[in-house]
Symmetry: C2
Subunit: 318 residues, 2 copies
């Protein structure tokens, strides 16, 4: 009965944000009036693998689960529509905690025009949240995959990198002299990642040829694009746009800040490729930094300050 009460409370907390929703919570399945192309991704985050309750509040966990999934829609250039959420709750999570988790998720949903349209709540040995998001597009060419990078394209990235990794180091107790605001911004970067939905849509329209969200770190994510495109992606490490405080945090942790930025992951910026003649449209579409270029070949090549290749492995979400 507690389970049913929780489900009732969750349903009461949710808001239908689209008149495209014909049926939602309370039926066996949600029914949505479709647009031409459905774009769907599924992601799971697991306690002590992707987050820790010692560093993340229940609201952080709910936010992160949805943000990670929406980030994939950003990388496709799709407009978000609905999210379907399965939560596994251990006995140590109170109903009020679970509700806090769902409310934070619904708050991010609200800001992104997403409706939480269905879900499942079950008990289990650890806290886990799986989110399936569906976005929509009217035309197939509005959407961007990982496989379109061509030799001669430029490689770019939105926003700043390394902030999430540095934030995690700070949350784990790293001692570094940084002002309070910078510390708060880095920690927030880790705890409340922002899916780049508007940027993804704008970049797709501006003519990017391939795109991926930076979840595992540029080192690994560039490799995914390279492999899928059958090309080589060259990224100059020194060009990576470091978030404020990353340099100091990396040094305090005994790491090279550019390597930290390339491998720590969870930044959820967008890494993309685009032909040089699209440079101006791309720069008008989003705040971007150019990192290198695409060549004939295979795999990601990270280049150090003296032009030497650097072997790095990104964080694997395993």
């Amino acid at each position: 009965v507690a389970e049913l009460d929780l489900i009732t409370s969750i349903e009461a907390a949710l808001e239908r944000r689209s008149d495209r929703l014909v049926r939602w919570v309370g039926d066996d399945a949600a029914v949505v009036r479709a647009r031409n192309f459905a774009v769907t991704s599924i992601d799971t985050i697991v306690e002590d693998v992707h987050f820790r309750r010692s560093t993340h509040s229940f609201a952080d966990i709910g936010h992160k689960a949805l943000a990670v999934a929406l980030s994939d829609l950003g990388a496709m250039g799709a407009e978000p529509g609905e999210a379907y959420v399965a939560v596994v709750l251990p006995a140590s999570v109170a109903d009020s905690d679970a509700l806090e988790l769902v409310e934070a998720m619904d708050s991010l949903a609200s800001r992104t025009g997403t409706t939480l349209a269905g879900g499942d709540v079950v008990s289990g040995p650890a806290l886990m949240v799986t989110v399936t998001v569906t976005g929509w597009a009217d035309d197939e060419d509005e959407l961007v995959g990982r496989g379109g990078a061509r030799p001669g394209d430029l490689v770019g990235v939105t926003g700043e990198l390394g902030g999430s990794g540095a934030g995690l180091l700070l949350l784990q107790g790293l001692d570094v002299s940084l002002d309070e605001d910078t510390v708060a911004a880095l920690e927030r970067r880790h705890l409340r990642p922002a899916p780049r939905l508007a940027e993804g849509l704008a970049l797709a329209r501006a003519g990017v040829t391939a795109m991926i969200d930076v979840s595992d770190g540029v080192a690994t994510d560039a490799e995914h694009v390279a492999r899928r495109s059958g090309a080589e992606l060259e990224v100059e490490l020194a060009r990576l746009p470091l978030a404020a405080g990353v340099e100091q945090a990396a040094e305090a942790a005994g790491q090279n800040p550019f390597e930290l930025a390339a491998t720590s992951g969870d930044d959820y910026e967008l890494l993309f490729t685009a032909p040089p003649e699209r440079r101006e449209q791309i720069e008008g579409a989003a705040g971007v930094t150019w990192l290198g270029e695409v060549r004939a070949g295979s795999g990601a090549v990270l280049v150090g300050p003296a032009g030497e290749p650097v072997a790095l492995r990104g964080y694997e979400h395993a």
Copy 2:
């Protein structure tokens, strides 16, 4: 790297079953050419809550995870399209076990015209599988919810009940004199539930007013329909269609067979309501048994052999 190898093996095992799939595994999200209405449901099964490795093979677990999700599409009268699968793997599950799980899932997908279009594989403390299924419909009135039962409607159910509950008792070692084939059929009923997709489609077209899949047992599922419809569903226990062997298994376990059939759940038959004038069409659409009728009021009322109300609670998937 093991993780990436496993994902590569999984991707190689999958088959694209629809030319509606524009992009699938290997991109940030799958892209599907939509029909007018998307029908989506999410379900999680958790080790030691919904299955045990002592009774279920990895293939059983994969089958069950997809069957449970597809069953919801059957209950809506939707045609299955795509499934998105998140698997949480503890260290005790070998890559070959995970592959066995996915292959069994893809085999059920194949038989139901479903494509496994995306997924996520992560590590965690226990084996868990979350499946989001999307089905499709061209018209809104092809679909059936839980809320349409009206006083005067008849209550019916497809197939046979109690088989899964009896099968579980047998798998747990219940000693009962039954022939081998009956035992095997009951155990299979529990381990390999069949989603009633064709039946759901046919019943929706034949004019049922409300429908739900029997996952928690008729006692609880009738309550869901009653609550959502604002009506009372009366179900005569003695009319429940018992699977062969349920009577003997229930007696050996010291239970009333009709109560077992009403509460043990996991049968994944379809419980529905329909106006009496649709009786013939309904009987032509699927093998059904009539259980009682809908009255003004609220909640499910289970009636015993002497016409007395019987208080029963179905199995809760909590």
